[in-house]
Symmetry: C2
Subunit: 168 residues, 2 copies
């Protein structure tokens, strides 16, 4: 029998193996708490916040604390095994540009630069998307390092909650 979608539990097992392997390689201890957090993360297909992960973990292991969840999440993040949604993890930032435009996000300093591109404005999405709902606009988010951060040799994946101070 052919399988249409690559069974989610397969991906889950694979991800779990990835987490444990990477942890071992990095010399990070595989405590039961971490293993359970790994399991929850590996199984999720959504984009949970720390509290959602904590709740899910607590269903199986009620003594796990919030801090451990946070610490584990950021550790995986530092290892590049999970990402965060949106350009930055800190406070809300506003965009006064209402017209169509796209973003260059610097992973080093957190600065976001606008750019325009007529080609990217009217991007065609795959047909399946219409089953999700109605899309009003699409925006491209390109992530990398700006020249200053490249020269400073700043790491791509730094925690970077420093300045990125705005408003000249």
């Amino acid at each position: 029998m052919t399988r249409k979608k690559p069974d989610a539990s397969e991906a889950s097992t694979e991800r779990l193996a990835l987490y444990t392997a990477a942890s071992r390689a990095a010399g990070i201890r595989l405590t039961p708490q971490r293993l359970e957090i790994f399991r929850v993360l590996a199984a999720t297909e959504s984009h949970p916040d720390a509290e959602a992960v904590h709740r899910a973990v607590q269903r199986v292991m009620p003594t796990v604390s919030r801090d451990t969840v946070y610490r584990t999440l950021w550790r995986l993040h530092d290892m590049g095994l999970v990402a965060t949604l949106g350009p930055s993890r800190d406070r809300v930032r506003f965009d006064t540009n209402v017209g169509p435009h796209h973003h260059l996000v610097c992973l080093g300093c957190g600065l976001v630069q606008d750019f325009v591109s007529a080609t990217l404005d009217g991007l065609a999405l795959p047909p399946g998307v219409s089953q999700w709902g109605r899309v009003y606009d699409t925006q491209v988010e390109a992530r990398g390092l700006c020249l200053a951060c490249l020269k400073a040799g700043r790491a791509t994946r730094e925690t970077t909650q420093e300045k990125a101070s705005d408003e000249r």
Copy 2:
């Protein structure tokens, strides 16, 4: 003489006019505080957070309070005159999908759905981008309303800090 880039101060004036016109149309009072906040926002080409706006406003009008800045920002946001960076304004959310994929963001409930598209994975960016730095990956963020929110007649621009409860 030809002008290469459309003078920033032009766009600024234009935006300021937009803010005041929209406010008047919505019956929102044009207090000096709001006008100053409008001026700051209209002039910025970056993506300031609330505090950056507050600092900039205070340089001219030292008595303005943080709350007023927040309230004004969200009001403009509700009118669709400023946007926020990233899919949601609330807490940090994590993405366990490390492979190339794109996001469908529902403006109604805040849920983010992944989708894949080989065409979108290797998007060509405009040549000018190379002067910004080095781009490691690009992701498309499509914003709209999911079926559930469409049926519920939920507004596109609602403040929406409700559930969007994750984890199945």
